[in-house]
């Protein structure tokens, strides 16, 4: 009871003496439990209830004599109990509203009498007697922090002299401890419901963590400090104006494994704030913005941030709890666990604090325990790679029946484990008779512990055992779980070592197994870090490729290439392969004619082709020729890989030209006919798409009637095919002839239909294709009839900026070529507002495309009026301060067209859009000059703008442009100059005339 009252109960003003218990739900719950305990005491423990307290519990009561009845002697306001102690004194005395009680019996009777005032009485009693134990049993039983020896003392006493009183005392003390524990538990529940932090809790937590912090390996943190030493009277350290937001204090934390962090503790929880820690402590301004999620306390927060913290705190806490558990088991039993925990903590030099800390630590320890047993996997490696990574998932979970395979494998495992090399080899060979491609067998090998032995065998000198083991590992590593287990047991490191073995067969097996295992990131990293990439590349080299190479050599190369293929999915490995000199070797093997070698070689190449350095090498080493040649291979997988390699390489213009020169476009077109193999189709259409970026290639494709075939592939295809088909059509549309072809083949409708797709990569391509088609007025008719413009327009609402931009670009030709385009645009409710608001986007491409669209839309006066109402002028003016030439060009165009309404010209001047525009004339891009000159010409109709332009020195620049060969530019420049000149003349006239 003492402990719980001291710590759990929420006392006001923590001064000593007579604090008062706050009326909080927690305190109420505690009091009710105590009342329950005392009321039942006399019936449950009659003997103990009769025990007379050393001193009476004394408090001011609100009860008066009238409530006392039978068993009491009532004398006006004074009341005495009839029951008397050994000394003849009554056990209950009430005089002048002071109540003195000396036994549990009387206490429980009193509470029953008190009825509705129970709670008040109990509260008053406890407030007046902060440590009831002292009164009840004597001062030696005081609830002392850290050093409570009472029970041990009593035990000693009992051993020496077993009198009734000591025995009673022991029973009472045990009962009270039990109550204590109960109270603590229930308050624990209360507290854990209440996540809100308070200054005391934060302070305790900080002090607690400080005890475990400092330099050294095993500490949980390097340092932990308040940002301010000054503490306000309410315990907060945050400045008052932040306190109103519930912030308590700020901490600078230096974990072992990250940079120093600055965190905010607030009543809502703990979070990372935006302070950058500056070493010289100057100019350190706390940025109060929340930069992380909210955590319920500092420890939870640190767990998320620092893996080392988790590791070390688990260590510390383990020691601590082990000791606690040990002592409790030894001596007393569960009910004294709290006292013991304290004692042990003082042993461990942990300072414990009043109020919450005990409970808090309980919570914390339990919490950590539950976490400590979870796997360390979630710490994870950080890698920049974005490719999807496999996760081991056990599928047969719950299937507890052991298969006959399991027993068979277990029997053989015995010989593998306990036999000499001869017996091991027999057992290994015999194990291969099981169907190792079946998951039951694979898992049986793992579950019997055989897998570990197989890996250990690799580390021996026995080539036969190594071979036998690898033959099995190669098979079972098809299984995800096994792959991860092999990596966990350190199998990859050993296999990489085996790549140096003199035995060719063994090397091949090791490489093949690596190829299987290295399907996930961590494994690939391991292979690289142990020099595996270099060795694998060397295996490619070990032979002379020519007409007379041997079967063994090509087998080695095949296995090495397989492993490299798996490894090349990691960016760093691609680099490692290049550094190890792999590219010329890949090029050399690419010339051979064996499909089984070509597949992993091309596989590696197409994987690596995502890197510009490889694309360069593929071009310079003349690999395109071979890739093209193998497009006509018999083997579909090889065709697919070659197409995929071309797909990735054809980002580069030179490669697109090379593909054409090596006559690769025709086989690609031919492969479109094989529409059953979707993977192949996706790769081929991808290659066509990228190749079609070059105009000469499009002409070739026209020759091969590729566009017609592509149109047939617009329906009933998986997304990855569709993206490429549409992409290819979009590129082909740049040629006028193809726009007609698409229409004639009935391609417009399916393309427009795809505007309702959801895949963003697909939408970008669809937009582009629609835009391309819309350049043909006849196509535009169809698009309009299919409501394509509305669909495009609604894609402006797509969250992806790429989709927005491509939709806006596509709208330009639509608006330009549609009949009654002004009416059409107006019919889209809210459409103009939507597009004007996109000028607030942060994406450059979106801005550029929207400017282009606005320039087209503004050609219609009515629409321009609506856009003006939506504030297009200030938004355009705001954008003028840009260095991006493409944006400048379209922005100037938009401004030029938007001048045509009302006093927009004036408005551009007022919103400071003219001066930056004037500077565009200094740009090096002639297209920017043209658009800018047009805009300036329009703006110069307003005298104030002329003044600004003149001030910005446009006249000289425009004069130079008057001499341009571009007629439009010439005219606009001249017009602008004449406007400025006229104004000057008029001014002079006004002055002097």
């Amino acid at each position: 009871m003492g402990v719980a009252l001291a710590r759990a109960a929420q006392w006001t003003s923590a001064g000593s003496g007579t604090g008062t218990l706050e009326i909080t739900p927690l305190n109420k719950a505690l009091l009710n439990q105590i009342i329950q305990f005392v009321e039942d005491f006399s019936t449950k423990h009659p003997q103990e209830a009769a025990f007379v307290f050393r001193e009476p519990l004394e408090w001011k009561t609100q009860l008066d004599s009238s409530v006392f009845g039978e068993g009491y002697e009532i004398n006006e306001a004074a009341v005495q109990s009839q029951a008397k102690g050994k000394d003849g004194q009554p056990l209950l005395i009430l005089s002048a509203s002071t109540l003195r009680v000396r036994s549990f019996d009387q206490l429980s009777r009193l509470l029953r009498i008190a009825m509705g005032k129970k709670l008040k009485e109990a509260q008053a009693c406890l407030e007046a007697n902060r440590d009831p134990l002292v009164k009840i049993l004597g001062p030696e039983y005081e609830t002392v922090e850290g050093e409570d020896m009472s029970i041990l003392q009593l035990f000693d006493k009992v051993k020496k002299e077993s009198d009734l009183e000591t025995e009673l005392k022991i029973k009472i003390i045990l009962l009270l401890h039990q109550l204590d524990l109960q109270l603590l538990n229930s308050s624990l529940k209360q507290i854990s419901q209440d996540v809100r932090l308070n200054p005391a809790a934060v302070n305790n937590e900080v002090n607690f963590l400080k005890n475990f912090s400092g330099q050294g390996e095993d500490t949980v943190l390097e340092s932990l400090d308040y940002t301010s030493d000054y503490m306000f009277s309410n315990g907060c350290r945050a400045p008052p104006w932040r306190q109103v937001r519930g912030e308590i204090c700020y901490l600078v934390v230096k974990p072992h494994d990250t940079d120093p962090l600055c965190i905010t503790c607030s009543t809502a929880g703990v979070f990372l704030n935006g302070v950058t820690i500056i070493t010289d402590n100057e100019g350190e301004d706390i940025d109060y913005e929340r930069k992380s999620d909210l955590y319920k306390d500092i420890v939870t927060f640190l767990r998320e941030i620092s893996p080392r913290f988790v590791e070390n705190i688990a260590k510390q806490v383990c020691i601590y709890w082990y000791l606690v558990y040990f002592f409790v088991q030894m001596f007393i039993g569960r009910n004294c666990i709290v006292n013991l925990a304290e004692r042990l903590c003082s042993l461990l030099k942990i300072t414990f604090y009043y109020s919450f800390v005990t409970i808090w630590n309980w919570r914390f320890c339990l919490f950590l325990f539950s976490k400590a047993s979870s796997s360390p996997e979630d710490v994870g490696e950080s890698s920049s790679e974005t490719d999807e990574d496999e996760q081991p998932v056990r599928r047969l979970e719950g299937n507890t029946d052991l298969s006959p395979e399991y027993w068979g494998i277990q029997k053989l495992a015995k010989y593998v484990k306990g036999g000499d090399p001869t017996a091991t080899v027999i057992a290994l060979c015999s194990m291969r008779d099981f169907n190792l491609s079946e998951e039951t067998c694979q898992l049986a090998i793992k579950d019997t512990g055989c897998l570990e032995v197989l890996i250990n065998l690799l580390d021996t000198e026995e080539i036969k055992c190594q071979t036998g083991s690898l033959k099995i590992l190669k098979e079972i590593s098809q299984n995800v779980l096994i792959r991860h287990a092999i990596a966990d047991f350190g199998g990859l490191e050993i296999m990489v070592k085996i790549l140096d073995s003199p035995d060719t067969n063994l090397k091949c097996l090791a490489a093949e197994t690596i190829a299987n295992v290295a399907r996930f990131k961590r494994a690939r990293k391991t292979v690289r870090q142990h020099g595996g990439i270099k060795r694998l590349v060397e295996l490619l080299e070990s032979i002379s490729v020519g007409s007379s190479y041997q079967a063994k050599d090509s087998e080695t190369a095949r296995c090495a290439a397989l492993a490299l293929w798996s490894c090349s999915k990691s960016t760093k490995n691609k680099k490692a392969i290049r550094k190890a000199g792999g590219i010329p070797l890949l090029a050399r093997w690419l010339k051979c004619s064996h499909t089984n070698i070509l597949i992993p070689i091309v596989g590696t190449l197409q994987e690596c082709a995502s890197e510009p350095s490889y694309r360069l090498a593929i071009r310079t080493e003349g690999m395109i020729e071979n890739l093209v040649k193998n497009l006509s291979s018999e083997h579909e997988e090889l065709q697919m890989l070659c197409a995929s390699a071309i797909f990735k390489c054809a980002e580069d213009e030179e490669i697109r030209d090379l593909v054409r020169k090596h006559e690769g476009l025709q086989p690609l077109s031919v492969l479109l006919d094989n529409s059953e193999n979707k993977q192949l189709l996706a790769a081929v259409t991808g290659a066509i798409w990228k190749c079609a970026i070059s105009r000469e290639n499009v002409l070739k494709f026209q020759e091969y009637k590729t566009v017609e075939t592509l149109v047939t592939l617009l329906t009933n295809q998986p997304e990855e095919v569709l993206i490429n088909v549409i992409g290819a059509l979009g590129e082909c549309c740049q040629e006028e002839e193809n726009r007609g072809t698409i229409r004639r083949c009935g391609g417009i409708a399916p393309i427009v239909e795809l505007l309702t797709a959801t895949n963003q990569a697909l939408l970008v391509n669809v937009n582009k294709a629609v835009g391309g088609c819309a350049m043909d007025p006849e196509n535009m008719l169809i698009i309009d009839s299919l409501d394509g413009v509305r669909l495009l327009w609604s894609l402006l609402k797509n969250p992806n900026p790429d989709v927005q931009a491509s939709a806006a670009w596509a709208l330009c030709p639509c608006v330009e070529n549609a009949k009654n385009s002004g009416e059409m645009v107006r019919s889209l409710v809210g459409g103009l507002e939507l597009i004007v608001n996109l000028l607030k986007s942060k994406d450059k491409e979106v801005l550029t495309s929207v400017c282009a669209a606005i320039a087209n839309i503004a050609k219609d006066q009515e629409n321009l009026a609506v856009m003006t109402d939506h504030g297009v002028v200030p938004l355009l003016s705001k954008l003028t301060n840009t260095n991006n030439n493409k944006l400048r060009r379209h922005l100037a165009e938009a401004i030029a067209h938007c001048c045509m309404w009302g006093n927009n010209r004036v408005a551009f001047g007022e919103t400071k859009g003219v001066a930056p525009l004037a500077r565009y004339l200094k740009s090096k891009d002639p297209l920017v000059h043209r658009a800018t000159a047009l805009a300036l010409y329009q703006l110069s109709e307003d005298p104030n703008n002329c003044v600004i332009m003149h001030e910005n020195g446009v006249v000289k620049l425009l004069l130079a442009m008057v001499g341009s060969t571009d007629d439009t530019l010439q005219e606009a420049a001249a017009g602008c100059i004449s406007n400025i000149r006229r104004l000057a003349l008029a001014t002079e006239k006004a002055k002097y005339g």
Binding site: K414, G418, D420, T422, V425, I426, L428, C429, K464
Partner: protein, 207 residues
């Protein structure tokens, strides 16, 4: 041995043991001569006995299994005189060091066929495998594990299911799984020791 006789011998050996060049044969003969000299001259310089043979193989190839070594001796000693002659020596080593798979299969089968009856019986397997279990399962009879192992081997290799291994069985098993060539104990030098042996002996090839 006369100079001319020596030359004739070399020629015939180079022909019979076709995996060696003439100079390599010469080196092997030289080694043979040293071994004979080391051995007690029981066979009047014509050859050496089992002990020397065992010693040599042990030192050269690290082969230790006595049962197997005895059998290797017997396979070398084709005429069964207890004495390895120079011809037997060179021809034997030709198989050991450079034999084709066929030759090695024949050799291994001969080694494992302890009584030379053309079959490897269960008893013979037991004899050869009886020391192969380093950890005896505690709950079983000492020989039980080995007997099981023999059954496993037989199941794996006995293609005609007659309870013993004929050469055909053995050949087929080895062709399916090369690792089974030395199924009943190491009787061929491993790649490392044979490489170092060749290096050591053939290094002093007279040019």
């Amino acid at each position: 041995m006369s100079r001319k006789g020596g030359k004739l011998l070399l020629d015939s050996l180079t022909r019979s043991a076709k995996h060696f060049t003439k100079s390599e044969v010469e080196c092997l003969v030289k080694l043979f001569d040293t071994l004979v000299a080391k051995a007690s001259s029981q066979f009047a310089g014509a050859g050496f006995d089992r002990t020397v043979f065992r010693d040599t193989l042990y030192h050269a190839f690290g082969m230790t299994d006595d049962v197997v070594l005895d059998r290797v001796f017997s396979t070398f000693d084709k005429d069964n005189t207890g004495c390895i002659t120079v011809v037997e020596w060179v021809e034997g080593l030709a198989v050991l060091l450079r034999g084709t798979l066929e030759e090695k299969m024949k050799y291994c089968f001969a080694v494992y066929d302890l009584n030379g009856d053309g079959y490897i019986s269960k008893e013979e397997m037991f004899q050869m495998l009886k020391h192969s279990l380093l950890i005896q399962p505690a709950d079983e009879e000492p020989d039980e594990g080995v007997k099981d192992l023999v059954e496993i081997a037989l199941k794996k290799m006995d293609y005609d299911h007659d309870g013993k291994l004929s050469f055909t069985d053995f050949e087929q098993a080895v062709r399916d799984e090369n690792l089974l060539l030395e199924a009943f104990g190491p009787c061929l030098p491993d790649i490392k020791s044979s490489m170092s042996f060749e290096q050591k002996i053939f290094r002093e090839v007279p040019k």
